[in-house]
Amino acid sequence: MYPTTYHKPASLSDAAAALSASDEAMVLAGGQTLLPTMKQRLASPSALVDIRAIPELRGITVSGATVTIGAATTHAEVAGHHGVQQTIPALACLAAGIGDPAVRHMGTIGGSVANNDPAADYPAAVLGLGATVVTNTREIAADDFFEGMFATALDEGEIITAIRFEAPKRAAYMKFRNPASRYAIVGVFVAETDAGARVAVTGAGADGVFRHSGMEAALSASFAPEAIDGCEVGEGDMASDIHASAAYRAHLVTVMARRAVAGAV
């Protein structure tokens, strides 16, 4: 990888200062995507600002139906947290299926959400549950956060501090994964909430995670697998690569959505 300068600030304000002090600085949250990307020389940050030593960015609080997860909390911590398992089991289950055990010990929710990889799992949960992305300067609704492949509403130097979820009535995440990379070829998160159903799809879209309004309308009327039988999934919006064609992905979206609705708890 290209040379870089490592920083490990102990406070959020120091982290923000370190980020703005260097033109091409990037946040290091778990490194399970960023470090491989740097090794391939696809990323060359002039500085790395490691946020894992900032106490308020770590840990999980559950208050009634609200689950707040610090940005530097690992996937393994989310998967194994009793409060998350009780309040939003679909979220704990999703975290337990990211990558592999060693990756889950290092990768963090904030890193995954900020990176917005088009095949990552967490963006589907954040969008599917209508979560709130909390940063060092503001709060951003999930619907306004994801702006296409690897693009988010985050400003230069803005740091995610936590993700806040409200428990749905029931939800589930189903993914069809690439057996080598463990990323989603197609992943669908469905949630039944007081404001109707939400369906978020990752892995499939040519432009990253997206909501499927047709399925949401059908499931809001009747939250049952057969309710989405007539829903169209347009091939034109799907990604196509060596792993799966657009037509295959479009088909899988319906299959995964049906399974998710059937398995929602």
Binding site: T5, K8, G31, L35, P36, A76, G80, D100
Partner: protein, 166 residues
């Protein structure tokens, strides 16, 4: 260059390294602990798995400088003198390897999963072992004997106190 100190296999080690030094390179090149293998270098194969503060991580996907102050255990640090760790003995007994390249990572992952399941009280079934091994790739064995070795070691480790494994 940044001064990094970590405790590796129980011994404090300090080196001046570039900020881009991976933990796998720190172990192999600086400390000459070449039991930690680098297979894919893309965090998929698991040959480089070591324990950092008691958790299995991929050493090729962690920066040494980020682990200043950490406790690291490698394949070289799990035997007690001449007595192999139960996981090592089980891989030997069940012939859980052929070429042996992936074995250090398999063993470190095996110990990690046994300890985690032990702590959580969940049964480490054959299905669970296969699921837990998905970050470790072996191109020789077809995994059957690896799974048998971990099942066997899990039973022997179940009897021992958790701390004995580290």
């Amino acid at each position: 260059m940044t001064k990094v100190t970590m405790t590796v296999n129980g011994r404090p080690q300090t080196r001046d390294v570039p900020d881009t030094t991976l933990l796998s390179d720190f172990l192999r090149e600086e400390l000459r602990l070449t039991g930690t293998h680098v297979g894919c270098d893309t965090s998929q194969c698991g040959a480089c798995v070591v324990h950092v503060d008691g958790r299995a991580v991929k050493a090729c996907t962690a920066l040494a400088v980020a682990l200043d102050g950490a406790e690291v255990t490698t394949i070289e640090g799990i035997a007690q003198g001449k007595e192999l760790h139960p996981m090592q003995t089980a891989f030997n007994d069940h012939h859980g390897l052929q070429c042996g390249f992936c074995t250090p990572g398999m063993i470190m992952t095996g110990i990690d999963m046994v300890e985690r399941y032990k702590a959580s009280g969940l049964p480490l079934t054959e299905e669970a072992i296969r699921h837990e091994l998905e970050g470790n790739i072996c191109r020789c064995t077809g995994y059957h004997n690896i799974v048998r070795a971990i099942e066997d070691a899990a039973q022997k480790m179940q009897a021992a106190p958790a701390a004995a494994a580290e």
